[in-house]
């Protein structure tokens, strides 16, 4: 089973890198770009039958730092 796990900073956590990217886009002449948030994407191939609870545990124990980050799990059809 292929998974795509998207990790982003929580709302309210200032994203310094996102801010810098936003400024760089403005510097390249792209106007009207707002609220850029940088994040991470993990692609995993897990054994069929891996439970949602196990996937959730992988995210909480390692892939995301839940003090500052949210995660979202997408399963490939």
């Amino acid at each position: 089973m292929k998974l795509r796990i998207v990790v982003t900073l929580k709302n309210g956590v200032l994203d310094q890198q996102g801010k810098a990217i936003e400024h760089a886009l403005a510097g390249l002449g792209f106007s009207g770009v707002d609220q850029v948030r940088a994040g991470k994407v993990f692609e995993l191939d897990v054994a069929d039958g891996t439970s949602d609870a196990q996937i959730d545990e992988m995210c909480r124990k390692l892939l995301a730092n839940t003090v500052i980050e949210n995660y979202r799990v997408e399963k490939a059809a």
Partner: protein
């Protein structure tokens, strides 16, 4: 006092810490590799050094916090053994859940490497008894991810319980409430971004870091 320095792949201040500990305690610390599952007995201090453990893969300190030796460090901390994390060591302690909050990319995104003014907030702890509250020290920092973050509730609790050990006396990295070092609830775990082990001898340009180790030695020995 017996001490141990944990060495992760990518640690680069392990020797600095070892030299400082030997200088102050008179005994060479045990250097413990990250793959070990047991620590030496009767340690007066476990020190987690600065550096770039595991190349800062995933998040600074994240991989190191899950290495085998950290289970032993968490157990020892739970039994009251003093634990000091400096720089990357602080990042490892937050990732391991021994300290609250997280250390994020510096505001301004620069790697900051210079002496900074550091204010002693709590001089009653195991690590800070040789300092005076409100005293300003000069201690070097060298980090990219030292921007301390915690939610307001956690920050209020840290301040209310006297768990902010050190605060920056100047703008350094954007840390919430200028926090540079914090203690756990029990007071036996300290994480700090500045490097006290780099201000031990006059030849370092100052000795403001030395009293941290001397105070601990006095308290533990």
């Amino acid at each position: 006092m017996k001490t141990a320095v944990i060495v992760f792949p990518g640690s680069n201040c392990d020797r600095d810490l070892a030299v400082a500990l030997e200088e102050v305690t008179g005994k060479r610390p045990d250097m413990v590799w990250h793959g070990e599952t047991e620590l030496p007995d009767r340690l007066g201090l476990i020190a987690l050094p600065g550096g770039f453990s595991y190349g800062d893969y995933l998040r600074s300190g994240a991989m190191a916090a899950r290495s085998p030796v950290m289970r032993a460090v968490v157990d020892a901390a739970g039994r009251g053994v003093p634990v000091l994390g400096v720089c990357n060591g602080f990042q490892v302690l937050t990732e391991a859940g021994l300290l609250p909050g997280a250390l994020m990319r510096n505001a301004g995104l620069d790697f900051v490497c210079r002496d900074v003014a550091l204010t002693v907030e709590n001089s009653q702890s195991l690590f800070t008894s040789r300092y005076r509250s409100g005293e300003t020290l000069s201690v070097p920092v060298a980090h990219h991810d030292g921007n301390f973050f915690a939610d307001d509730e956690t920050l209020d609790r840290l301040e209310g319980e006297g768990r902010v050990a050190f605060r920056y006396g100047e703008a350094v990295n954007g840390s919430a409430r200028s926090i540079a070092g914090i203690l756990n609830a029990e007071g036996n775990v300290l994480g700090m971004m500045p490097h006290p082990e780099r201000k031990i001898e006059a030849a370092h340009g100052g000795t403001d870091g030395r009293r941290l180790f001397e105070g601990l030695l006095e308290a533990v020995a």
